[in-house]
C-alpha cells in the first residue's frame, strides 16, 4: 500500500460483466480500511472522543455521537434526554449537509451542469453556528457534558435560515408545503415548474424513463437489540461480520430510502416504480425537507429501556442513524481504558457483495456501454458509498 490519500481511504471496485450486451454478473470488491478502530485499543475515552471526529470527519458528527453513546453505556453513565436531543440535532444537520452535497454538487455533475458549492458551504457554516449555540464549550460529544440551557431558542433563527436555503435552492416553496404535494402527478408538475438541481434531476429521470431503474427488493435492516449486535461483534468472526454483514444469511439495506419509505409521497411513488432510481432520489429530498421541522420539535426524546440491561459490564453499543444509514459502534472497556473498539458502517450493508447495489445493478438493461455506465453512476450515487469507487464494465 502506498501513501496516497486514495490508498488511505480505500475504495470500492464495482465490476459489471456482460455477455452479448446482457448483464451476467456484478461484483464488488472493497479496499476500505475497516479495522482502523483497533488503534483505540489501550486508549482513554477522552483520546477516542477527541481524535475519532478527525479520522472520520465526513460523517464525524454521527461517528462522535455513536462513540460517546457507546462509551457512556460502558461507563454506566445514563444519557440525559436533553443531551440525546442536542446531539441528535447535530447529527440531523450533518445528514442535511450530506444530502445537500449529493443534490447541489453530485447531481449537477451527473447532469452535466455546474455544481452549486455555495449552498453546501453556507450549510456548513450554519452547522458550525448551530453547534456553538448548543454547546458554547465545543464539547458536544463528551460524557456528561450538557448543552446550553434553552439552546432551542438560540438556534431557532438558524432553523429559519435552513428553511430559507431549502426553499431557495431546492424546492421553490416552503419545504413543509413541498412535503405535502401528495401525489406523483403533483411531484412531476413541480419538477417541470421549478429550476433547481433537485427538480432537474427528477425531470431528467422522468424524461429518460428511468424511474424504476434498478428497482430491487432487498429488505430494510430491521431493528435489532443492542444484545444482538453485542453478540455478533463479540464473535470470533466479528471482522467478517463487519466486512460483509448479513443476518441469518440475508442482506439488508439501510439508507435514507429505508428511513422514509413510509412517507406518503415516497410510498405513492414506490407503489408505482418500486425502489428504483426515482424513488431513491425522492427519498433523499423528502428526508432533507423534513429536517427543519424535526429540529423545531421541542419535545425531548422518550427514554426507552435501559440498553445496559442487555450488555455485560464495561460494554457499550450505539446505533445511530447517520446520513447513509445505521451506524453501529461497540466498545469494551476495562478500568476506564478501551480494550476493544469496533465500527459497523452502513456502506458495508448496502455495498455487500450480494446487497442492494449489486441487486440493483444486475437488473439494468441499457442500450449501450455508455448508457450502462451512466445508469450505474446514477444508481450508485443514489445509494451513495462513503468512499470513491471505480466502475469496471467488462463485456465478453
Amino acid at each position: 500500500m502506498g501513501n496516497g490519500s486514495d490508498n488511505i481511504e480505500g475504495r470500492l471496485d464495482i465490476h459489471i460483466r456482460l455477455v452479448d450486451g446482457a448483464i451476467t454478473d456484478v461484483a464488488i470488491q472493497s479496499s476500505r480500511p475497516l479495522l482502523t478502530p483497533r488503534i483505540f485499543t489501550g486508549k482513554s475515552v477522552e483520546h477516542l472522543l477527541t481524535t475519532l471526529p478527525l479520522l472520520y470527519s465526513i460523517c464525524g458528527t454521527a461517528q462522535a455521537n455513536a462513540a460517546v453513546t457507546a462509551c457512556e453505556q460502558a461507563l454506566g453513565i445514563a444519557q440525559e434526554p436533553i443531551c440525546t436531543k442536542a446531539r441528535s440535532h447535530l447529527v440531523s444537520l450533518e445528514t442535511a449537509k450530506e444530502h445537500l452535497w449529493r443534490v447541489l454538487l453530485d447531481w449537477p455533475d451527473l447532469l452535466g451542469l455546474s455544481p452549486e458549492a455555495t449552498g453546501v458551504g453556507e450549510t456548513m457554516q450554519l452547522i458550525k453556528r448551530y453547534r456553538l449555540a448548543c454547546y458554547p464549550n465545543e464539547r458536544p460529544f463528551f460524557p456528561g457534558v450538557h448543552p446550553a440551557a434553552g439552546f432551542d431558542g438560540s438556534a431557532a433563527g438558524l432553523i429559519v435560515e435552513l428553511e430559507t436555503l431549502l426553499e431557495q435552492r431546492f424546492f421553490g416553496m416552503p419545504a413543509a408545503e413541498w412535503l405535502a404535494l401528495g401525489s406523483y402527478d403533483a411531484l412531476l408538475q413541480w419538477a417541470d415548474q421549478v429550476d433547481t438541481p433537485a427538480a432537474a434531476m427528477l425531470q431528467f429521470v422522468q424524461t429518460k424513463e428511468w424511474n424504476s431503474l434498478g428497482a430491487a427488493s432487498i429488505a430494510s435492516l430491521p431493528n435489532q437489540s443492542h444484545g444482538f449486535y453485542d453478540q455478533q461483534l463479540d464473535d470470533v468472526e466479528a471482522d467478517q461480520f463487519i466486512a460483509a454483514p448479513q443476518i441469518d444469511g440475508c442482506c439488508f439495506e439501510t439508507s435514507p430510502f429505508t428511513r422514509v419509505q413510509d412517507h406518503p409521497l415516497v410510498a405513492a411513488v414506490c407503489a408505482i416504480d418500486g425502489a428504483g432510481l426515482f424513488t431513491r432520489q425522492l427519498a433523499r429530498l423528502v428526508e432533507l425537507a423534513g429536517i427543519p421541522s424535526y429540529l423545531r420539535n421541542t419535545e425531548e426524546p422518550v427514554q426507552t429501556d435501559d440498553p445496559n440491561k442487555q450488555l455485560s459490564e464495561g460494554v457499550g453499543i450505539a446505533q445511530i442513524e447517520a446520513a447513509r444509514g445505521r451506524l453501529i459502534h461497540r466498545v469494551v472497556m476495562d478500568n476506564e481504558l478501551i480494550t476493544r473498539y469496533q465500527i459497523l458502517a452502513p456502506t458495508e450493508w448496502n455495498f455487500h457483495p450480494s446487497g442492494v447495489v449489486v441487486e440493483s445493478l444486475k437488473v439494468l438493461n441499457a442500450d449501450s456501454i455508455d448508457q450502462l455506465k451512466q445508469q450505474a453512476a446514477f444508481l450508485i450515487n443514489a445509494i451513495d458509498p462513503c468512499v470513491g469507487y471505480e466502475l469496471h464494465i467488462e463485456p465478453r
Partner: protein
C-alpha cells in the same frame, strides 16, 4: 466509515477555487469551494476531491500518526 485525509496546501488557484495539497509524497488537486479563507501552508481535511475544513498543524500530525498506527501510511508521512 469514511476517512478524511489531512493535506498541506502547497499551491492555490483562487480563480477556480482549487488548491494543490500534499499528502505524504502525493499531491492532489482539491476544490476549496466549501472552506473559507484558505492560505498556503494551511492544513485541510480532504474527502473525494473537496476540502472539508481547516485543521491545525498539530491536529494534522495527530491524524497522520493515527493512520500510521493503523498501518494505512508509510512511516515517513
Amino acid at each position: 466509515m469514511c476517512l478524511a485525509i489531512p493535506g498541506k496546501v502547497v499551491a492555490l488557484d483562487e480563480a477556480t477555487d482549487m488548491a494543490t495539497v500534499s499528502v505524504g509524497n502525493v499531491k492532489k488537486d482539491v476544490s476549496i469551494a466549501l472552506v473559507e479563507d484558505v492560505n498556503l501552508g494551511d492544513y485541510l481535511l480532504i474527502h473525494v476531491g473537496y476540502a472539508l475544513n481547516k485543521i491545525s498543524e498539530e491536529e494534522a500530525a495527530n491524524t497522520l500518526k493515527m493512520f500510521e498506527e493503523a498501518g494505512l501510511t508509510e512511516a515517513d508521512v
